[in-house]
C-alpha cells in the first residue's frame, strides 16, 4: 500500500512538444484516482511516466516513500493494465499471469497459488490453458487484470482498460473494477476520456487539459463546482450551456450577482433548467425565452434543443416525456443557486 505523489512533473518530447506541463498532485493510500481529459491532454503520458515506461523530463514522482524517477518499471512495485491488454500472444493465460512472478524468482507453488487465486476472483479459472487469441475481448480484459493482481503491487495503473469493450460489457466491468479495487484496497490511477467512467469510478478526479491539471476533487464536487469552463463542459453530459455576457448584460439576467465590468460567462447545466410558462425569473435566477429547434425523447428524460433570442444554442434536459414541440416558443428558467459564473476567459470561477 502506498500513496503516489507527483511534484511538478514535466514531459517534453524530443522535438520540443510539451505533453505534460508541470503536474503536481497526491493520490492518498488506497484511493482510486481517475485522470480524465480529451485525447492528447497528456493523461496517458503521465500514467506511463508513473509506470516508468516513459522517461520524466523534470519533476519528481514518488510511490510510497521512494522517488522512482530513475527506477526500472519492474522495481516500482506497480502493475499496469493496457488499453489493448498487451497479453503475450504465444503464452497460455496461466503463463501470462505467471510470467512476471517467474521473472522475480517467486517459488513455483507460490506462483501457482497466486495465479489460481486471481483466476478464481476474476472467474477465469476455466480459461487458464487457453491462448489469448481464443478469448473474447472481455475475457482478455480479465486476464490483463489478473496479470496485474498476481503481482500484489502497491499501485495499479489502468490505461483506458475498458475502451475496447462493447457498451454493455463496459458497464459491468466498470462496476467490477470498482468492487475489486475496494476489496483489495490498492491505490489506483486510472486514465480515461469517458467522463461517465471517471465519475463512477473515482474517489479523486483529476481533470486534465492540454498538459495541465484543470481541477482536482471528488467527482461530485467537481460536477457541482467546476473550476473552469473546460471542466464545466467536460464533466456532465450533455455539456453545460455556456452563455457569454457582455459588460452590462449580466445585470439584466441576474438581479444581484456581482459581475465584473468586462463581462462573464454564465453556465447552466441542461438538467438545472425548467421550462416555465411566463418569462418571470425566480429571484436572482434567469428566464431565457427560446425557440425550440428539436426534441429528443429517450424515455426517462427528454432533451430540448433551443435557440435563444440572442442567438445562443442551449440544451434543456427535462424529466419524463413532457416537452414542448419543435417550433414552439418556451422559456427556460434556472434558479440563482444553479448558475455557474466564470470569468470571461473561462479560467476562473467567480
Amino acid at each position: 500500500m502506498a500513496e503516489v505523489t507527483l511534484k511538478d512533473v514535466r514531459k517534453v518530447y524530443p522535438g520540443g512538444v510539451e505533453a505534460v506541463k508541470g503536474v503536481s498532485f497526491d493520490v492518498p493510500d488506497g484511493h482510486f484516482c481517475v485522470m480524465v481529459g480529451p485525447s492528447g491532454c497528456g493523461k496517458s503520458t503521465l500514467l506511463r511516466m508513473i509506470a516508468g515506461v516513459e522517461t520524466i523530463t523534470s519533476g519528481e514522482i514518488r510511490i510510497g516513500e521512494r522517488i522512482v524517477n530513475e527506477i526500472e518499471p519492474s522495481e516500482r512495485d506497480i502493475a499496469m493494465v493496457f488499453q489493448n491488454y498487451a497479453l503475450y500472444p504465444h503464452m497460455r493465460v496461466y503463463d501470462n499471469m505467471a510470467y512476471g512472478l517467474r521473472n522475480r524468482k517467486t517459488p513455483k507453488d507460490e506462483i501457482d497459488r497466486r495465479v489460481r487465486e486471481a483466476a478464481r476472483i476474476l472467474e477465469i479459472d476455466a480459461l487458464l490453458d487457453r491462448k489469448p487469441r481464443q478469448l473474447s475481448g472481455g475475457q482478455r480484459q480479465r486476464v490483463a487484470m489478473g496479470r496485474a493482481i498476481v503481482r500484489r503491487p502497491k499501485v495499479f495503473l489502468f490505461d483506458e482498460p475498458l475502451s475496447n469493450l462493447d457498451a454493455k460489457l463496459r458497464i459491468t466491468t466498470r462496476v467490477e473494477i470498482k468492487k475489486l479495487q475496494k476489496a483489495l484496497g490498492t491505490t489506483s490511477v486510472y486514465v480515461t476520456h469517458d467522463q461517465l467512467e471517471a465519475m463512477t469510478l473515482a474517489d479523486m478526479l483529476v481533470v486534465m487539459n492540454a498538459g495541465r491539471v484543470e481541477q482536482i476533487g471528488a467527482p461530485l464536487a467537481v460536477y457541482e463546482r467546476p473550476a473552469t469552463t473546460f471542466v464545466a463542459t467536460f464533466i456532465g453530459a450533455p455539456a453545460m450551456n455556456l452563455l457569454k455576457m457582455g459588460g452590462a448584460e449580466p445585470a439584466l439576467l441576474l438581479d444581484n450577482a456581482s459581475v465584473p465590468a468586462e463581462g462573464a460567462i454564465i453556465g447552466i447545466r441542461p438538467e438545472d433548467f425548467a421550462i416555465g410558462a411566463g418569462d418571470t425569473a425566480p429571484a436572482g435566477g434567469v428566464a431565457l425565452p427560446l425557440t425550440v429547434g428539436a426534441v429528443e425523447k429517450v424515455g426517462p428524460e427528454s432533451f430540448v434543443y433551443g435557440t435563444l433570442d440572442r442567438g445562443d444554442n442551449v440544451i434543456v434536459r427535462l424529466p419524463g416525456q413532457h416537452a414542448p414541440a419543435p417550433g414552439e416558443r418556451a422559456v427556460a428558467i434556472a434558479a440563482r443557486e444553479k448558475l455557474h459564473i466564470f470569468s470571461v476567459d473561462g479560467q476562473q470561477r467567480l
Partner: protein
C-alpha cells in the same frame, strides 16, 4: 468461391494442368534417364518409361561416383551442399534477427546510419563484390573450408529488413508489459520476440535454404578440392565436354538427388511457411 460453376472451372484447371506438365516433364525425363544403362541414352534413343537400373545407378552415384570426372561420390557432395545451405540459412537468420532487434528496439548513435548501411548492401550481391570477397577469403585461408563456403554469404539485408518490418508491427505495449513484468532485453527477446517470430523464421528458412543450396558461382571459386565441392557444381563437372563419354545416367541421378533436400525442406515447413507469409495475428 461462392459461385458454383461446375464447367466454368474447366479452363483454369486445363491451364494449370498444362503448366504442371511443362514443369514436371523434364523432371520425369531426368528420372527416366537415371534408371537406364548409359548406352541407351548415348544412342540418342531416350525412352519414356523407367528402365531397370534404378538401384544400380543410384548406388553408384551415391557411394562410388563417376569413373573419370569428379572422382567423389555424390554422398559427399550432398553432405557439403547440406552443410553449406544449413549454415547459410541459419547464419543469415541468426545475424539478421539480432541486427533487426538492435535497430528496432535500441537507441544508439548512428542507428539509422547502421540501418542504411545494411540496406545498401542489397545492391551489392556476391557477383558484384566477388573479387574483394575472394581476396579476403583467401587471405584468411578460407579456401576449401566450410567457413569460406558460408561466411561471405551469411550477411543478409533482406532478412534484416524482413525482421525489422515484423518487429515494428509488434505492439509497443508488449515491450512495456515485459518491462513491468521484469524482463530485461534478453528475456524480452527470448521469451516474447523469438516465439512470435517463429513463423517468419520458418518462412525465411525455406527461402534461404534453397538460396544456399542453389549457390553456384561462389562455391565454384572458393573450392578446388573434390571433397569440398557442392552437388550443384558436381553436376556440372560430371558433364564431360572433351573426348570421354558422359555418364548421363549418373548425371541424371545426381540431378534427382540434388532436388530432394529442398523439396523435403519445403514439404516439412510448408504449414509454417504459409502461415508466416499470411499471418496477421500478433
Amino acid at each position: 468461391m461462392v459461385e458454383n460453376r461446375p464447367f466454368g472451372n474447366i479452363l483454369p484447371h486445363l491451364i494449370l494442368w498444362i503448366g504442371i506438365a511443362i514443369m514436371v516433364f523434364p523432371v520425369y525425363l531426368a528420372f527416366v534417364g537415371s534408371t537406364h544403362e548409359p548406352t541407351i541414352i548415348s544412342n540418342g534413343q531416350m525412352p519414356l518409361t523407367p528402365g531397370s537400373h534404378f538401384f544400380e545407378n543410384y548406388y553408384r552415384t551415391i557411394f562410388i561416383g563417376t569413373t573419370g570426372t569428379t572422382r567423389e561420390p555424390v554422398a559427399t557432395m550432398l553432405m557439403n551442399s547440406f552443410v553449406m545451405a544449413m549454415a547459410i540459412a541459419c547464419g543469415k537468420i541468426f545475424i539478421s534477427i539480432l541486427s533487426a532487434y538492435a535497430i528496432v528496439y535500441f537507441k544508439f548513435p548512428l542507428r539509422m546510419t547502421a540501418f542504411w548501411l545494411i540496406f545498401i548492401t542489397l545492391m551489392l550481391p556476391v557477383e558484384v563484390r566477388i573479387y574483394p570477397t575472394y581476396k579476403i577469403a583467401s587471405d584468411l585461408n578460407l579456401l576449401d573450408t566450410y567457413s569460406g563456403l558460408t561466411l561471405p554469404l551469411v550477411a543478409s539485408a533482406t532478412a534484416t529488413l524482413l525482421f525489422r518490418q515484423f518487429f515494428m508491427t509488434v505492439p509497443d505495449e508488449l515491450l512495456e508489459a515485459s518491462r513491468i513484468d521484469g524482463a530485461g532485453p534478453f528475456r524480452f527477446f527470448f521469451d516474447t520476440l523469438l516465439p512470435l517470430s517463429r513463423t517468419n523464421m520458418a518462412a525465411l528458412f525455406v527461402i534461404l535454404f534453397i538460396y544456399g543450396w542453389n549457390q553456384y558461382l561462389w562455391p565454384l571459386l572458393i573450392t578446388t578440392r573434390d571433397d569440398m565441392q557442392t552437388i550443384v557444381i558436381g553436376i556440372k563437372k560430371m558433364i564431360v565436354t572433351s573426348d570421354a563419354l558422359t555418364e548421363w545416367q549418373l548425371v541424371m541421378a545426381t540431378a534427382m538427388l540434388a532436388m530432394l533436400p529442398p523439396v523435403f525442406v519445403v514439404i516439412a515447413m510448408q504449414k509454417l511457411f504459409v502461415r508466416g507469409l499470411v499471418e496477421t495475428e500478433k
